[in-house]
Point group: C2
Chain length 350, copies 2
């Protein structure tokens, strides 16, 4: 059967102050009216039976995940975050024990995709390919801009798939490029964004773990229950699936993602999904402005945010904390909760 | 006897969102821990008996004025604001009816003065002079910077007063100058800031009203009770005491104010009265910052304001509205409540 594994272990510190350890980005309606993980599950509901959806999260977030996704019964809580390779290995192991013929789509909980039909078609076609062949499919998004914040995959020879979706052998994974290189990638048409969305059979990914991460796989094999999970998991290497497997394996295939995709990586990304007023401002919540342009304002409820003579700012108001950030420095928002950590009076703000 | 008349009729829209129609700047602790009017009364308590202090405010603010100043029993509520000339005429008329020999110090409610001893000495010396002579004293502040936001008074010949405070005839009132002129004024030593602080006998100011504003004075003379106040006051000309009397009279005298004085005219002015951190930020309330400089943060209670990558901003957080304003545009803050006026959902924010 086909299974969806939704990875939801992040802390989303770049979305502070709305994002907190117990309610990070994926459990918030950063873009849209439902939370990111609710949107992810809704996108997958016509492809997977909710009984075969698994969410891997952590112990702090598991209660809220269960509350937000009452129909998803497989919610696994990592004792601590170990990046994507241990997370994916654990999920594959658990599903394989129940369903040795399982094919898995492994997907992040917090992406934004508006072309749901296009997305579903690629996932379906990749599931079909992965059921037939011993491949590790990564869904690559066709770039629409020379983005320097994403990794890229260089396409190799095309597979002769009969599906609407095109597939190529992966030739090379490329780290975040500089702007010049990103422009070349965009123009060539031979590169796709690495979106962290994977499709493979349980057998194929387990085979890859055995080959490229034998020690990790041996440890994962010993996890039988909550007690052994708690004992063994924290000792696993903290490593991404890209480094651990994908960049090493020779059976990686890229599925062509033509649908729009946005990992909504920081606050300024929010503005791409909302209408701007005549001054280029995007406001979610009550808002007033004098001589202010190209700002993003997010306010939870009735609280008014008023701007006078400012440009290119992100302002996020929550009941107990407000962020004022220049758009160009949005990556550094995560330094705020780090700075507050250890100060007793700010414990609730983390 | 000596009387203090405290003018407290402003709406302080430049201090929005903290300042509201019912609780404007003078009724808020903009600088210091007590409200501006409480500080004003405290400064005057060793000079005037609270029984001879009169606050002139308006009907919206009178309840809070009475609450904040329980010892001040003479709180007069204007039916509507008519600028300083009608306000001063009304107070002079009321006090003269009770005490024909009264000498009045007429002072704004919302200035900040830290050299209280220096201030009291000038007020005392001016009261003494005004009791002896038929003069209209204005307390002029010696400039310490070429400020272009204040009016100036050009000093004439010095009086032979025996008091520690020096007095000069006023030669000329000058409107807000340009920077070049302000620098010349500062260097010459012959100019003082017009601070809107006056001392005169009831007789002298009434004489001046009779001479320069006979029609207004005739109307004020008809005000006998709350009913006639409500009927007559709104019809009085809306005009400042400077235009109505001071610039016309030939018996204006300038008292030399050497004490520090700040009318705290807008949010950026607040930073002059608080210690800055190493990045030049001033914070009243919980605060965190990454790569941010020369900002002013005002937060009412436990709410944290966090800055990332911003400079020269004023951020004011209140429970129902937050202002983010560039320091250079602080004068335009008053446009926000004007913009909100008439929108039912924002009624409480005015």
């Amino acid at each position: 059967m086909n299974w969806a594994v939704i990875m939801a272990g992040g802390y989303g510190e770049r979305f502070w102050p709305m994002s907190r350890r117990k309610q990070p980005k994926q459990l918030l309606p950063i873009v849209g009216d439902r939370t990111m993980i609710q949107q992810t599950v809704a996108r997958l509901e016509t492809v997977f039976d909710p009984a075969r959806m698994m969410v891997v999260t952590n112990r702090e977030q598991a209660p809220l995940v269960r509350k937000q996704l009452p129909r998803v019964r497989n919610v696994i809580a990592e004792p601590m975050g170990r990046n994507t390779a241990p997370c994916i290995g654990l999920a594959a192991s658990m599903i394989h024990q129940r369903d040795p013929d399982a094919v898995l789509a492994v997907l992040p909980a917090d992406s934004y995709i508006s072309d749901v039909a296009g997305y579903r078609r690629v996932v379906r076609d990749a599931l079909e390919l992965a059921r037939r062949e011993d491949v590790l499919v990564t869904i690559g998004i066709r770039p629409n801009a020379p983005h320097t914040g994403y990794g890229y995959i260089h396409l190799g020879g095309e597979l002769s798939a009969k599906t609407p979706t095109r597939f190529w052998k992966a030739q090379r994974f490329v780290e975040k490029p500089d702007l010049k290189t990103a422009k070349e990638f965009l123009e060539s048409g031979d590169y796709r964004w690495n979106a962290g969305m994977f499709v493979w059979s349980a057998r194929s990914i387990i085979g890859a773990f055995e080959k490229y991460q034998p020690e990790m796989w041996k440890q994962i094999g010993k996890i039988k229950d909550a007690r052994s999970l708690k004992r063994i998991y924290p000792g696993l290497e903290k490593i991404s699936i890209d480094y651990a497997i994908m960049e090493k394996a020779d059976n990686v295939v890229v599925a062509n993602g033509e649908f729009d995709w946005d990992d909504v990586g920081d606050w300024p990304a929010v503005e791409r999904h909302y209408a701007k007023d005549a001054q280029g401002n995007v406001a979610r919540g009550p808002f007033a402005a004098i001589n202010s342009n190209n700002c993003v304002v997010v306010s939870g409820g009735k609280h008014l945010v008023a701007l006078v003579g400012v440009n290119d700012l992100v302002i996020v108001h929550t009941p107990d904390a407000t962020l004022v950030c220049h758009k160009s420095e949005a990556q550094r928002v995560r330094e705020i909760p780090k700075q507050l950590a250890g100060q007793a009076q700010y414990k609730k703000l983390l």
